[in-house]
Symmetry: D2
Subunit: 488 residues, 4 copies
Amino acid sequence: MLMTAKDYMESLRKLKLNLYLLGEKVDIWVDNPIIRPSINAIAMTYKLAHEPENEALATRDSILTGKKVNKFNALFSSTDDLVTKIKLQKILGQRTACCFQRCVGMDGINAVFSTTYEIDRKHRTEYHHRFREWLKYVQENDLCIAGAMTDVKGHRGVTPSQQADPDMFVHVVERRSDGIIVRGAKAHLTGAANSHEMLIMPTLRMREGDEDYSLSCAIPTDAEGVTLIYGRQSCDTRKLEEGDIDVGNYNFGGQEALVILDDVFVPWEKVFMCGEVDFSIMLVERFAAYHRQSYGGCKPGIGDVLIGATASMADYNGVRRAPHIREKLGEMIHLAETIYACGLACSYEGWQTMAGNYQPNTLLANVCKHNVTRFPFEITRLAEDIAGGLLVTTPSEKDFRHPVIGKYIDKYLKGVPEVPTEARYRMLTLIHAMSFGLVAPSYRTESMHGAGSPQAQKIMIERETDMEYKQKLARSIAGIDERENVLA
Amino acid sequence: MLMTAKDYMESLRKLKLNLYLLGEKVDIWVDNPIIRPSINAIAMTYKLAHEPENEALATRDSILTGKKVNKFNALFSSTDDLVTKIKLQKILGQRTACCFQRCVGMDGINAVFSTTYEIDRKHRTEYHHRFREWLKYVQENDLCIAGAMTDVKGHRGVTPSQQADPDMFVHVVERRSDGIIVRGAKAHLTGAANSHEMLIMPTLRMREGDEDYSLSCAIPTDAEGVTLIYGRQSCDTRKLEEGDIDVGNYNFGGQEALVILDDVFVPWEKVFMCGEVDFSIMLVERFAAYHRQSYGGCKPGIGDVLIGATASMADYNGVRRAPHIREKLGEMIHLAETIYACGLACSYEGWQTMAGNYQPNTLLANVCKHNVTRFPFEITRLAEDIAGGLLVTTPSEKDFRHPVIGKYIDKYLKGVPEVPTEARYRMLTLIHAMSFGLVAPSYRTESMHGAGSPQAQKIMIERETDMEYKQKLARSIAGIDERENVLA
Amino acid sequence: MLMTAKDYMESLRKLKLNLYLLGEKVDIWVDNPIIRPSINAIAMTYKLAHEPENEALATRDSILTGKKVNKFNALFSSTDDLVTKIKLQKILGQRTACCFQRCVGMDGINAVFSTTYEIDRKHRTEYHHRFREWLKYVQENDLCIAGAMTDVKGHRGVTPSQQADPDMFVHVVERRSDGIIVRGAKAHLTGAANSHEMLIMPTLRMREGDEDYSLSCAIPTDAEGVTLIYGRQSCDTRKLEEGDIDVGNYNFGGQEALVILDDVFVPWEKVFMCGEVDFSIMLVERFAAYHRQSYGGCKPGIGDVLIGATASMADYNGVRRAPHIREKLGEMIHLAETIYACGLACSYEGWQTMAGNYQPNTLLANVCKHNVTRFPFEITRLAEDIAGGLLVTTPSEKDFRHPVIGKYIDKYLKGVPEVPTEARYRMLTLIHAMSFGLVAPSYRTESMHGAGSPQAQKIMIERETDMEYKQKLARSIAGIDERENVLA
Amino acid sequence: MLMTAKDYMESLRKLKLNLYLLGEKVDIWVDNPIIRPSINAIAMTYKLAHEPENEALATRDSILTGKKVNKFNALFSSTDDLVTKIKLQKILGQRTACCFQRCVGMDGINAVFSTTYEIDRKHRTEYHHRFREWLKYVQENDLCIAGAMTDVKGHRGVTPSQQADPDMFVHVVERRSDGIIVRGAKAHLTGAANSHEMLIMPTLRMREGDEDYSLSCAIPTDAEGVTLIYGRQSCDTRKLEEGDIDVGNYNFGGQEALVILDDVFVPWEKVFMCGEVDFSIMLVERFAAYHRQSYGGCKPGIGDVLIGATASMADYNGVRRAPHIREKLGEMIHLAETIYACGLACSYEGWQTMAGNYQPNTLLANVCKHNVTRFPFEITRLAEDIAGGLLVTTPSEKDFRHPVIGKYIDKYLKGVPEVPTEARYRMLTLIHAMSFGLVAPSYRTESMHGAGSPQAQKIMIERETDMEYKQKLARSIAGIDERENVLA
């Protein structure tokens, strides 16, 4: 059953979240103006599954059940599946101009699927079977799953079990016959308060002694012991104000929460890894590869909106054809498309896991993400260049609507005569939202830290490279090893 | 008489500003929590003049009166004066971590001083004398002057007099025996609502037909017909909330306003240019050179705070000595100091105008500012890299103070054990303020657009270069012209 | 019939080229030490076709004849064909560390194939048929074809027919019943003196009046009236010296020639475009897309050799594990793989022409090449960083072999004790060859100018972008157009 | 006595160098066509001292003797002296378009001067007195001194005394009553074969056990036991060919040699440090600061020639006013001037040593040089962009002069009609010389490695920064430490 966007929202109302926002417990959170845009963004993933022109990208027949499921809950069963993932993400980025929050779950599902298969092969466990059953349930109910990986980590130079406070990484504090008790916290969990369940995964390579921390399991977002604390966002309270201009992106937004797991019970059938320190890194890296690929889809899509907005500002200012403006817009496109090219390439060059689903090419997925830690910043810089200083000095919408001074603003903030001041206003606040405001973290911080910070990719790029082969090539050309005889 | 910071604030209370903020007229604006930090920032320029260790930088004996005056109201009478300007600005940037708003006035004063001298020489006018008188008054009362240059500009491809609406550039609408009537608006006027008077200057090269737009004069900020509309700032209303953490930079901030001049009367003794289209560009370029120099002082100072905050986050996370962290911190310092070097160089290489005051080297001042349109963005990107994703996902201070969930936050957002969570919190919100929030425009947008957008500098760099000489060098080396005989 | 590398060389000996090198006519050019490495490089394209492990990449069944032909003479009949092209080019770059010169022909063949089809459809001409016949002949004889596009161009601001000298672009000077007479010159024609025939193509958009310049045809490299003047290369005469170290890349090299066409007769059956000004730009752009794609294959391959050589120097100096070295090597890999990703992406996203063969995605092919105009320069800079200053100060091989001073060099230029000085020597000269010497143009200048200079790509990127769509997205998000109702 | 350029050349003829070049001992080396351009470049430093318009920059009254001496042999006795050094270097870079090789000596003289003073103060030695005497001799005879710092270094991860071969760093092998015996080699010693004496300095921080390696002394270049092996340069043998075009920079060039010290005797009066391991790093760092400053002078000067040549090529191609060309030329100027600004800033901000001479600001000198490791590469890339592909494919001058084919070249390589083909030829080969050929190392490799590789500057930048102060600023603004009360 594929939910509509409306169904999805109704389904959220049934959750009994223990959710805090700005120091207060929020009960009717689906309609909370600060939270609602982030729900809208996820809802878009449900909507596209019903759009005839996007259905092929947004849905897939489940390889578990044969039934049509939402792409975000599907297993990638071909490189083509990886490619359509990227194309879907690009459209969603274009339609929301922000993080639509559902990729972590999709990527986590695929990583846990293949990793549990290999754990079971080695350790004769039954995680993979459990996971398939859970996934069928998720697919059939079209649930939204939040991937939960990043621990709060405390002292970054110390392993989980050696931290001064043993709870700095999520871990098992008790093993019972019916399940386990879990404690800890997951930081900046994307889409936490919009999802039905969380898929818990470890955040780094575990070593001997870290057995309690090598944990993967599923937990409903409203399970007992779960507390969600909504992260502050730049300009968040503008959503509480009258009017719709100052917010910039009125409809859509991202969402992150600090999620506290205070002795949460998880039944065994929802436990997918528990103590296998040797597989923690496999799960982390498989997830990371998927998620680094993902940014090759969503960020070019978000970038398209920023490019379009910037070109519009140039139009409204009457300078669109100035050579330096064209040069800068061209550069913005070039950078956004370079990211997209990397997203496509790592997808097309994917490989099949032992469990049967597909992974993107690891090296190229890391290259993709590493570019994402750079180019959106330059694209934003160029947008700020073209938008002009007014970007950060526009009076408020209330001033614009004011009976006395509104007319001054309308008169004096006009650009070319044929465009209403309000259009220019709106375009400025959209760019502001993307560069400073509500959705700036979706395009900037997430590009930097989502799926691992830049250094994490550098390490993988080094590791995935066959340097010995490159050195062999050099030695042969240099004549240190025997040179190739082209006539032989 | 050098005012203290306190005197300055009291002096502001006497102004009868017609000021709007977030759609409401503000009467007691000095104590308005949104506005106050920007007043504090300017107040710092008064404070330093009384600090024994900074007095030498922050004050100067007036070449008009021989009395000690605040540096921001002084004429630069040597290259050393230009250098101390830069060093003073660096300290102020370090102490406020934001725009302290008084440089536009200082730079405008110096530019109008020398330009009026040359206008008078050519046109036998008396602007320079008037200006000296006004400046003496400013110096003696230690007033704060807002430089007012940027017009709202309408269609950027059209000259002032050809705009569909003739008011898109400030202009004279009536010449009377006792003075002139002025109409128009100045956009994002830095420090407008913290200053006693505005020094109006034209914003671009005027041509025949633009006579009414070639205008420079002084107008009290509370003159009749003046309306100030405060620009919205990212996260501005956080200042209205309880607590002092979420704001990031609680004490200091920038300020810009849209200033409407609705038929304002200016007596002739405050008019410094009126119709001399041939001198408009000189005034613009002299001001631009000063102001492009200025950024070689303030931005390295602000950068120092961001670098210090970023290093602190690395400390708090326990990763300060990691090679990639050191590399990135080193890069941040390198970029900030490159800007500072350019600021110093253009100052030391200054030149004396006909009027006797000093200008920075035009080419190098433009080079300085052009680097400013790039490096703070990269410095900020690196700060966001090292700060981590928590930068945009920390719960609010209210959550942190909350009786139920506060303890979770305190426990889980701790970094290394020896640093209190609150310190980490505060450092994160400071970086947030500088990269997304209240003072981000001070470090990013102003770096881009203040004193002219990047393209403006590129044009000046091209013009100030003696390309023919460079080509001659090349022709000689290449043997197209006669080669130099080194033995001759 | 697929020639072996040896067959290919023998076939060259039969050509009667009118070839000049360093001011002298060269008769036995196949064995000329300056020219031979470039022949070896092309020979590698013949060799790979016979290697079992590379045959699948290096050959293809002709869609014209069904027979197996060399990939460089094949039509791309699927996106997979475009992808294998990239992968083949990467291997060839790795094996030769230079330009292997045969891609221009391959790309030209495919561009002329589809363009002639469309000319014929519109103008009812018979070019496509002629071209197929010629291509069959080329395939069956496994000829090497030099693509000849770049005209000498004279004054770049003036159209072909308006040049002071009408011969600055290759053109028809006489139309006869049996064929045409052609005059002009093609500049820096890659592989000209290693190829059997040249495929002449126009170099830019023609306009009315340029009919004589809208020309495509095939001309044997040894046809009467053809003169080839070999371009000087950095350090070219090192190949004439004793020893094999100083050259750096002893076996392989690129080749460019200035080709003069002094009233060359071309029979009609080898004329593929003659006067159709409206199709000139189609041919240019189709070729450009192919060739911009190509650089996504060869340059990452060449880059691999440089990366391997650089890592080896770090080994030889004992600093391979130093963090800053690892960071820089990681960056080199990242940049090389970004190019490769772009090469793959534009290939996978190819499209079918009316004639049936496949073009790469135009936008992404341009993005690919545009990155190529940047990244190899940075990769080279990093190689020079790690290699150390000795890169440009090593004594000559003759010094190294000298009975008196050789022992000094052997002693003092040693790095880590376990690596012979000679190995370090050879690695240094290889890097020198790639950064300054014989093959530096293959990695640097060609990356810049081959397939069009950077500005050419910027123009295409702007043109291939659907900016109106991006602006529509922005207007919807901003609420200027109606916002999307996610629940609808 | 200030020698003229001619005197200088004659003085060189008197030296009995044991010099090898391309495997042969060179006796009449002053007239050797490969070596001569590097002599011309140094000769220019003598010439300028006699030019009325440059005398003020190029000479100075000695603070030792009161007599006028060449700037290159002078002590910097004010910040103004440091500034004129930069300005002189810029002119020399402009006049030679290459390394003029005499700065290492000048910088070494100043570093040894102040370091010996401080050694003597601590160790009660008499180095400083000896050094003053030697310097008087150098000044009075107007000798050219080669600074000799870089050891060959062997395994870079191992200290001098721990190397497998103890000679990998220059060291004392015997102490005698009349002097010391020295062994080892100095790598890529700039201007070695053009100088009268070498000033030996250690290359890195010495530690206990490295006493024999903590060595500074003066050695005539033709002392017994000294062997000079000339480094190969890109395209070096072009200087042996007929004609003057292909060389690119016919008159001037750099020079580096591997200098072998095979048990060379040095009398005590020429020994300036011998065993003081605690002062080795002071000497290294003082020299490094001077030499990193130096690049802020010469490289902008060389850059000017490249910029001029590039603009000329744009003229010759008829595209000088194209917006993208102007943008790129503007960028080249911007980068070159940024370096110059850094060179000036660290000079103006210099400080006085205990010995009385002046050092540039250490932090800013390192910032200067670090930019030099980047910007010349980008400037060169842009030059290659604008110059066009012909840069690496021009036929040889011999082809151009050839009776048969010369006319083709003259016809077809013409750009705009009004510029002779030969001028375009010459400009291309000049750019080639600077980007690939003879003087490319002067602008590229030296910029990278001269005065220390980029990582060396990064380390110094980190060390010279007062990070604790920056962190204190951040803590105060963030409210972790007490916030500043602006009204206090």
